[in-house]
Amino acid sequence: MTDFLLNIDTAAIDWARAQFALTAIYHWLFVPLTLGLALIMGIMETCYYRTKKQFWKDATRFWQKLFGINFAMGIATGIILEFEFGTNWSNYSWFVGDIFGAPLAIEGIIAFFLESTFVAVMFFGWQKVSAGFHLAATWLTGIGATFSAWWILVANAWMQYPVGCTFNPDTMRNEMTSFAEVALSPFAVNKFCHTVTSAWIIGALFVVAVSCYYLFRKREKELAIESIKIGSIVGLAASLLAIHTGDGSAYQISKVQPMKLAAMEALYDGGTDQGLTAIALVNPFSQPEYEKGGEPPMRISIPYALSFLATRDIHGYVPGVNDILKGGYPKADGTKEMTMDEKIKNGRQAVIALQEFRHLNALERQNQLGGDGCQRREALKRVLNEKMPYFGYGFIKEKSQLVPYIPLCFYSFRIMVGLGTLFVVFFMAMLLVAYRKKDVTAKWMLITGMALLPLGYIASECGWLVAEFGRQPWAIQDMMPTWVGVSNIGSGSIMITFMIFLALFTTLLAVEISILIKAIKKGPDRE
């Protein structure tokens, strides 16, 4: 049995992870507003196209101006993500590039060009192209952005639930066997729906918040009221869809990433008839002592809800952190999960078999592989077929490495769900007031409308924290832990680029917010 003396600079891994987290979190500050505003602008310009009322044109152009300021930041923060897999995760890029590269390339060919070509028509084409072409350009910009979300989420979903591929020991990488399985993976479909609907919520919150500001200041009344109506309809529909898709997401996670679910719930010891924790006291600053069992203090739970969420049966069995670390618990289909020791053993056997396989390949290249060697190699191939799904476990030294940082998952999940529910109530109230009283003047309501915008961003980013921290230590579920996926770059270099990104993005964010505020204060231009 080999024991890995992995000689990787742990600081380099931490900095590489930090850099990816930083750039992805920053990018995600701008993308949801792009997706959400695109929908709302599209609706408004369609109103203009059908009614030819100048009001709708002014409204569309106003929101498009704000869209443009935000869009530029989305592009600036996005380019690095396309290349960061190579620069900071080069081993990952080779190991699964045969599958993972495809959605990224398709994203460029199909989505980015659509977006970048028509966004220029949208901004500068009002007097240059026909009204119909302009409307098409506005929608195509949004569709391009949404396509791009599709492909990048296909890529992300694949890391969480790798399908449609097989390991090839000759090339030392995973290779795609079914494009349809990758591109239409149920995990990807759900992730896309959940992410895009959550982005629409941000778009709606933004439009409503800006409109509330105008009503608060008693100006731009018509624009504000009409925007609130459209924004609240979009927001309500999107929040309800996000709840529905979020529920689907939790169900899928329980099947393919049970550890993530256990960490989200701070569920140490699982069982049947599990309640969903509403709130509990989990120390946010340190990993809880889950191995001691029990449950976090001050826990208030909704009876049976977790079992139902995870298994669609109120009596269903949900494994906790300790159950997963031990393994051998019953699965929904009646079979038993493999024990963790066995998984780790399988992983190490896969590594050893691969070492021997590569050795035999080397002998073959020197023409020293006899008949026995050939037979041995065939036998090893069969071992690899069986054991490679556990390859990643071969790099696990201690079982505690398999547990994500529980407090972060626990609180992020609660913040996301809590705020999501709040948004449903808020949009319903807004709609009711806007349509029945025709006039939104209650000060508390306007202040709430403005205050909810930052909370929307927090909820959205929390969703990503759950998804990405919850799958630790895996870069690719069960196949590759993060520390095997890195590039061979000194931690110093990565630290410097991290600092540059931090300074650059933060400065540009400050400029962007300042410009947005000025543009909002100035209000719409009228022709």
């Binding site: 380019i79 060919i109 028509v121």
Partner: protein
């Protein structure tokens, strides 16, 4: 379709994207000359608005170039980006600051001031073409890296590709021939930028200045380009034995490639002639402002042939000068047959994409940019 055909096809597509990218660097070239072409704020604003309607296409081509390389030649993607870390990072930083510079510079509330963002555009305008050219130079001049796939399971250091020195890509700039190509690409971008602005901005002063600047940028471009071409023709190249995959040094490899693939030589010479025609006619004739089209098309053809010469005909396109057998060829670095085939199907979208870009470009450029446009219409 055989696996070999798919490999050649994808090298063609990646080369085509690279060639289109070099043409589209006219955005960077024009931005780098912002203060020479435009003498006052109004003139500069016209220039920025002119490149500002195209920059996203350049940017997207760069991103797609990265994505397409990842999908078709993942070992290049992992080895080069993960190894030549600093070279690529600096290129990326320059494109990051460019991306916001158009939108932000003339807006109220820009707390960094207009000048900051103009300088961002100039930095990107110089660094972008220079370093991208330098990076392409390594396709011929080699880099210091080792690929050892067994590292993944050696139990010590699992990373399969690693760089042979601490320069992490900046070492490419120590090789003068990479710099020669880098500066050639920079001056080419400036030439194309001038030609584009002369065509796209309707302003007598800018056009007059353009003619003069054109001479000053074409001369160094031609000298550097010819020097690099001669260097490539006479230098030893990195060849690969197709049956065994063994890589060896072959004298005059690239010259042989051009004689073996004579059609590439013809197309390249035609491309060079078109570039020169576009430049010379613009300099000579005062009324001729369409030089960007022959020069742009010529650039695409020339760069395409140079990149094809680097990878086709059993050549290692990303050679390693410290471990010859680690060098990347299109056969040893490409994706699986299944993926290449799938992506080949996706590539059928490319003509459609090109068509709508051309259409939108045509519609938007029917009216040239002038002072009235930026004061009355939508403008940055």
């Amino acid at each position: 379709m055989t696996y070999e055909f798919l490999q050649q096809y994808w090298w063609f597509l990646v080369s085509l994207l690279g060639a289109l990218l070099v043409f589209l660097l006219f955005v960077q070239g024009a931005n780098s000359l912002m203060f020479s072409l435009g003498r006052d704020e109004e003139e500069r604003r016209m220039i920025i608005n002119s490149t500002g309607r195209k920059w996203e296409i350049t940017f997207t081509t760069l991103v797609t170039f990265g994505g397409a390389f990842f999908a078709s030649f993942p070992l290049f993607y992992s080895t080069s980006f993960g190894g030549a870390y600093w070279l690529w990072m600096i290129i990326l930083f320059s494109f990051v600051v460019q991306a916001v510079s158009y939108e932000f510079q003339n807006k109220l509330g820009n707390i960094l001031g207009k000048r900051t963002f103009q300088w961002f555009l100039i930095i990107n305008g110089i660094i972008g073409p220079l370093l991208l050219g330098g990076a392409v130079g390594t396709f011929f001049n080699g880099s210091s890296f080792i690929v050892e796939k067994d590292n993944l399971i050696s139990g010590i250091m699992p990373v399969i590709s690693y760089w042979g020195n601490a320069g992490h890509g900046l070492d490419a700039l120590l090789n003068p021939w990479n710099l020669v190509l880098g500066f050639a690409v920079l001056f080419l971008a400036r030439v194309l930028g001038i030609l584009y602005i002369m065509n796209n901005v309707e302003d007598e002063n800018i056009r007059c200045r353009g003619s003069v600047l054109l001479i000053g940028n074409s001369v160094p471009f031609v000298i550097l380009f010819v020097a690099f071409l001669v260097h490539v023709f006479v230098k030893d190249g990195y060849a690969v034995e197709p049956e065994t995959g063994v890589i060896f040094i072959e004298p005059y490899k690239y010259l042989h490639n051009f004689t073996d693939m004579w059609y590439l030589l013809i197309i390249m010479l035609a491309g060079v002639a078109m570039v020169l025609y576009g430049i010379i006619r613009t300099i000579v004739s005062k009324s001729y402002i369409r030089g960007i089209w022959p020069a742009g098309a010529g650039t695409v053809l020339t760069v395409l042939c140079i990149l094809l010469c680097a990878g086709w005909n059993n050549t290692a396109y990303y050679p390693s000068d410290i471990d010859l057998q680690s060098s990347l060829t299109i056969a040893n670095s490409c994706s699986s047959e299944f993926t290449l085939y799938t992506m080949a199907v996706v590539s059928l979208f490319i003509p459609f994409v090109l068509a709508y870009i051309v259409h939108a470009w045509h519609v938007m450029d029917r009216r040239k940019i002038d002072k009235k446009e930026i004061s009355e219409g939508e403008a940055y």
